[in-house]
Amino acid sequence: MPLGRARVVEPTVPLMLALLAERGHAGAPAALDDGTPYIKADVNDRVCSVVIQPPNEEYPLGGVQFYAWFDPAAEPLLEQANRWNADHLFVKASVSDNGKLELALDMPFDGPVPRDGLLQLVDLWAAAMDAI
């Protein structure tokens, strides 16, 4: 099948804020201590962070990243993370250094990406927030 054409956009904090709002999720711009901008969002009653990670020497591809952290459940965390990773295709679970269950979704990009793809990303993350 030949290549088609799609409307593409540069992933930015303002754009992701707009796409979150389009899907009915609240978000506000924030900044890390070093000034790096990100979004502090509320997706299906889960507090999470959205970061536009630019390419760097270690990772030549940028990433549109979603993160959320959860307090330990009764089940051992490593087993919980392993089961999540076995059952879910797009969202990665790991146990953070401070003992929380971390979920992460990271879509690579090397330039402008289809707008519909970013909307799909928001939907994938929302589904994960419902599933956890």
């Binding site: 799609a6 591809l61 490593l78 990773n85 679970a93 330039g111 799909q120």
Partner: protein, 132 residues
């Protein structure tokens, strides 16, 4: 603001197109089918065998997926797997029910994916396999 116009993308990306791009990137790639008829790519790169497929099917592709499974006789335990997952982006490990180690990466491709990004993802995947 963030609108970058239009770009050529695979929308949808088919398994045969994926196999052709994998071959172009230097991977051995052959389209095969599961017992239920689902198409996938049986591939090898750097003497490591892996599978690639398009999740969601040809009509509504959601993800470009890679998967390889290793016997767990290399000392990789739960803590080491978690450390691997925490230290790396764009792929993750989990233990299967058989006790093997599986490395997977699912790239969200709703809205389409460019040829250049597929090739870049193949480079990242190859690098990740080399780390195991």
């Amino acid at each position: 603001m963030s609108d970058a116009g239009e770009a050529e993308v695979y929308a949808p990306l088919t398994v045969h197109e994926l196999a052709a791009l994998m071959a172009e990137a230097g991977h051995q790639a052959a389209v095969s089918r599961t017992d239920d008829g689902t198409a996938y790519v049986d591939a090898t790169v750097d003497d490591v065998r892996y599978l690639a497929y398009v999740a969601g099917g040809a009509d509504a592709p959601e993800g470009l997926c890679f998967s390889a499974t290793f016997r767990r006789d290399d000392g990789l335990g739960d803590d080491a797997i978690n450390a691997w997952n925490g230290a790396r982006r764009f792929a993750r490990l989990h233990l299967t029910e058989d006790g093997d180690v599986r490395v997977e990466w699912a790239v969200p491709i709703g809205g389409g994916i460019s040829r250049a990004l597929v090739l870049a993802c193949l480079d990242v995947w190859r690098h990740r396999l080399g780390e195991l």
